[in-house]
Symmetry: C2
Subunit: 200 residues, 2 copies
């Protein structure tokens, strides 16, 4: 097997750049972010950061892919014998019922970044890809439940799109209003919907 | 009854300012909007516009209230003998299945404006009020169905919050991705959810 001796090194530099981007985003938000502020959070040679990325938007587009890759990887390891528990687990990770301050901040950041997609084609492609991958993850969990005979034979993609719409809508509500009870109501109603539609 | 002879005149000037704001928003979007561009769309004396509003954000905050007032007034006149048809009517108005270009533009504008609420307290209050009022409208339609014996005795507010989350999530998807089939899937799934949960 051919091994590229630099692959690990390159991979870890990119991960560190993404983690620096995340720290800078948490500190400064989208509007306060600049490539030099990301560089401030980066411990290795700053020139490698400037070498890879021309602008903060370049970095953020890469960051969104990195973040959804991580999310997918973490979800993939969480399969249990109970498809409904798995589904509720994915939902809780995407929209925690009692978010920590950091989770709340990430959600606000995502809502802020997503609004760039109204006018910016690159962000638009990224968020389409993110939604597509989240629907695929949710669909797979639902289809596993159908295969096991635990769930009804529903149109899994349609149910997944419904779940994602509730999650995105409630995430926007949380980030743009103080209607916290609304988020809880939507989550409770979503669970009872899934119970009614899926549980055999 | 005491009548303020200037009330109509004041009311119509304000309506015209709001309509000028709407036209300016459609032409320039949120980021391209300025108070002078709104003034360009205003046919009366520009000084009255500058007299009432200090900044474009002042005007937009007033505009959001104006828009939701209009929406509520139009929904209130649409009560039929069929609560499910009324509910579907409100949903179709908030998230048209086949939007015109203008409806699509309004939705993109709302998503763009709402993102200001992540960091701006005044926009945050406005969007909390808008969501609250939409939930009230939806709740009233559901409660009417319960009173008439057409709907099951559900927690009407909880169902209304679920509906609003789907609508807001799908509206964001439409404005920030090209996943048009996702919006259709969410709408179809929402209708079947309401049928399952509400219809006796």
């Amino acid at each position: 097997m051919a091994v590229d001796p630099d692959a690990d090194e390159r991979g870890s530099t990119e991960t560190e750049i993404m983690e620096a981007t995340y720290r800078a985003l948490c500190k400064h938000g989208y509007s306060g972010l600049s490539i030099s502020r990301i560089a401030d959070e980066f411990e290795k040679s700053k020139s490698s950061l400037y070498y890879h990325y021309d602008s903060k938007d370049d970095l953020l587009v890469a960051f969104l892919t990195f973040a959804v890759d991580r999310f997918e990887a973490s979800v993939a390891t969480e399969r249990s014998d109970d498809p409904m528990a798995d589904l509720e687990g994915v939902i809780e990770r995407l929209l925690p019922l009692r978010p920590t301050d950091e989770q709340r901040q990430i959600q606000a950041l995502l809502v802020d970044l997503r609004s760039q997609a109204v006018t910016d084609e690159r962000f638009r492609e990224r968020f389409a890809d993110i939604d597509e991958r989240l629907v695929t993850t949710l669909t797979e969990v639902i289809e596993r439940g159908i295969e096991r005979g635990t769930f009804n034979e529903v149109d899994a993609t349609r149910v997944a799109e419904h779940v994602l719409a509730v999650l995105n809508g409630a995430m926007v509500a949380r980030a743009t209003t103080d209607r916290e009870a609304a988020v809880a109501a939507a989550r409770v109603s979503l669970s009872s919907y899934l119970d009614t539609v899926l549980r055999r």
